[in-house]
Amino acid sequence: EAAVTQSPRNKVTVTGGNVTLSCRQTNSHNYMYWYRQDTGHGLRLIHYSYGAGNLQIGDVPDGYKATRTTQEDFFLLLELASPSQTSLYFCASSDTGGARDTQYFGPGTRLLVL
């Protein structure tokens, strides 16, 4: 089973604050993804990457930056956090990114922006 870890698991910041969410996968997967999930709804894709140094725009990218520093590590950056970014954030990885490939999800980071 693929291992995807996220840190921190919980984060509180204030409006305008600077937040970095970290994700690491240890299965040599090429693709990594950042999603957000708001209460009672499904996940929405923010950004994704198919390798170190690569970044692709997802469906809800506004207000977020991301960086893939290595094959293992993918970071989500909120440089001016707003209350609308209060959410549960999930990272995922997959091997090929193909439609038949399975995504493996981390445990999530709960972010509260006051």
Binding site: V4, Y31, Y33, Y35, G40, H41, G42, L43, R44, L45, Y48, Y50, Q56, G58, D59, F90, A92, S94, T96, G97, G98, A99, R100, D101, T102, Q103, Y104, F105, G106, P107, G108
Partner: protein
């Protein structure tokens, strides 16, 4: 990308078989059907995927109608651990992004 429609909620007793339906009336020939589930406080977990006919694995089975406009996830002998949100996802096999578009899913409640 085809839009999916699922019942918002279902209930079952332990030991029952549960069938969760998903309508994808505009599914394209290049689109594939996935099912994921999410238990509270965890990320989604892959269950099964298929393109047509019938697929089975150790966890569930998936029936896809001949016109591919309807799929049904079948969970045999549900237990309390199967209480989760079940997501039906349709994705294009011709793209190479792995993007998954989640809807609101079906909340399955399992009663003892």
């Amino acid at each position: 990308l085809a839009k999916t429609t699922q019942p918002p909620s279902m209930e079952a007793y332990e030991g029952q078989e549960v069938n969760v339906s998903c309508s994808h009336t505009n599914i394209a020939t290049s689109e594939y059907i996935y099912w994921y589930r999410q238990v509270p406080h965890q990320g989604p977990q892959f269950i099964i995927q298929g393109y047509k006919d019938y697929v089975v694995n150790e966890v569930a089975s998936l029936f896809i109608s001949a016109d591919r406009k309807l799929s049904t996830l079948s969970l045999p002998w549900v237990s309390l651990r199967d209480a989760a949100v079940y997501y039906c996802i349709v994705t294009d096999i011709d793209t190479n992004t792995g993007k998954l578009t989640f809807g609101d899913g079906t909340v399955l409640t399992v009663k003892p």
